[in-house]
């Protein structure tokens, strides 16, 4: 899932958690999901080197993304 999608999900989780009527089980499940999303988004940000790739299309129309070597 992309960073953008993770952030969107986190915002929607936060919105649901603001509902006082939410039962604790659901709330905890949402927290856990939120933590997973936070981790995924953080992991995205740990990349230190930009990956440079090249799109290659095989004869059958299947795409592959390969490292671009200089």
């Amino acid at each position: 899932m992309s960073f953008e999608a993770s952030m969107a999900r986190l915002e929607s989780i936060a919105a649901r958690l603001e509902d006082d009527e939410l039962d604790l089980d659901t709330a905890l499940a949402l927290f856990e999901e939120g933590v997973a999303e936070l981790r995924a988004a953080s992991a995205f940000l740990t990349q230190a080197e930009t990956r440079l790739k090249q799109l290659n299309e095989a004869a059958d129309g299947v795409f592959r993304v390969d490292d671009l070597r200089d």
Binding site: F3, M7, D25, F31, A41, L45, Q54
Partner: protein, 383 residues
């Protein structure tokens, strides 16, 4: 007739290809695709032809009255026995032909609504992957890569190679755009090249390229040449960047800003978690506290057993509440308990605490009007 053919050979041998200046008159674009016209000056005229296959480098047909210089070969057309000038290149005063070509293309795109500002899509704030349509060896790719590396190395740059100048460039750019569309796995696409002569940039004024760009299913950024060059692609793209580096800046966010946004989101979640746990404590807090103390000796075993769920919770701000001594009581299946109703001696339970999780077993259940008190098996239980 051998004589006419010989005359042609003599003429072609006498005159190498050359430039001729004059005013255009009697221009006709024939149905067969060839252009016929005259070049005149004060006292002479020259019949000219521009064959459809040989005028790819002429941007637009000239208008009568236009002052031009034409490059071509003086020859004889044997079928008519006429001398004519076979034109392959043409320049008009004040870049007239280029401007005319641009205006013609622009008018057609405008008529089809492809230049409407309402068509412009927003560029995503946090792309995962940026497709770059340019030449593999050009400065544009290097510039874009350098900016991406500086701003946010998490974003992947995927080159979709294409010829960016020469006769094959328009077709090559259209093909690359089609590939990006069929691949469908980029969040935004940059199309462009570094600066160059006007003719080198001309592929980005090609109507086919502009139309392919307009139908691209993902947001597009054009980055053609230097700041002063505005191409047809610039008008069609969702965003026009003055240079490839500027395109990369528009496409790639600054990592520090993403971290900040993530941190803010984590804080929101933490605060909500604290509130939630605080409001739940009236039903579970005292029970939890009692059991938690009793189970303190089981931490090590419990931590290992339930690390995956508990540590994930602990990463959040129930932590802040758990730090103050509260625990969450759950069934062995992970369901949170808020009452002693379903507890009986021997029921296995889990205690989620600040630094781990403990497995415990209910010893006694003592429902009470004011508070419910249970004690866990094991030593150390206290009221």
């Amino acid at each position: 007739m051998a004589l006419t053919a010989t005359a042609r050979d003599v003429l072609e041998g006498a005159f190498t290809p050359l430039w001729v200046r004059g005013e255009v008159s009697d221009f006709k674009a024939h149905r067969n695709g060839h252009w016929y016209f005259c070049l005149r000056d004060g006292d002479a005229q020259l019949k000219c032809v521009a064959w459809s296959r040989e005028r790819r480098r002429i941007p637009a047909p000239p208008d009568d009255g236009m002052q031009i210089v034409a490059f071509g070969q003086l020859t004889v057309y044997p079928a008519r026995g006429e001398m004519q000038f076979s034109v392959t290149r043409m320049e008009a005063e004040g870049d007239g032909l280029w401007r005319k070509a641009l205006e013609l293309t622009r008018a057609r795109l405008h008529a089809d609504g492809l230049l409407d500002l309402s068509r412009k899509r927003a560029i995503p704030r946090h792309p995962r992957r940026v497709a770059v349509i340019t030449s593999r060896d050009g400065a544009a790719l290097r510039d874009i890569f350098a900016v991406a590396q500086r701003r946010c190395p998490s974003v992947e740059i995927v080159l979709v190679p294409a010829a960016v100048q020469g006769d094959s460039a328009p077709e090559s750019l259209c093909f690359a755009l089609d590939q990006v569309a069929r691949w469908g796995d980029a969040d935004v696409v940059i199309i462009g090249r570094g600066g160059g002569a006007r003719e080198d940039l001309w592929a980005f004024n090609d109507e086919r390229v502009a139309r392919a760009l307009a139908t691209c299913p993902i947001p597009t950024i054009s980055a053609v040449g230097h700041e002063i060059d505005v191409s047809i692609c610039d008008l069609v793209a969702d965003l026009r960047a003055p240079t490839p580096s500027a395109a990369a800046e528009a496409a790639v966010p600054v990592q520090a800003e993403l971290r900040e946004r993530l941190r803010a989101s984590a804080e929101t979640l933490s605060a909500l978690a604290s509130d939630r746990v605080a409001s739940a404590r009236t039903c579970a807090g005292e029970v939890a506290r009692g059991i938690a103390r009793g189970a303190s000796r089981r931490f090590d075993r419990g931590r290992l057993q339930l690390e995956s769920s508990a540590t994930r919770l602990n990463a959040l701000s129930p932590l802040a509440t758990l730090d103050r001594g509260y625990a969450i009581v759950r069934t062995a299946a992970g369901r949170t308990l808020r009452s002693v109703d379903r507890l009986e001696p021997g029921t296995p339970i889990e205690l989620v605490m600040r630094d781990g999780t403990a497995a415990a077993t209910v010893d006694r259940v003592l429902p009470n009007d004011r508070s419910a008190v249970a004690s866990a098996s094991g030593t150390g239980a206290e009221s």
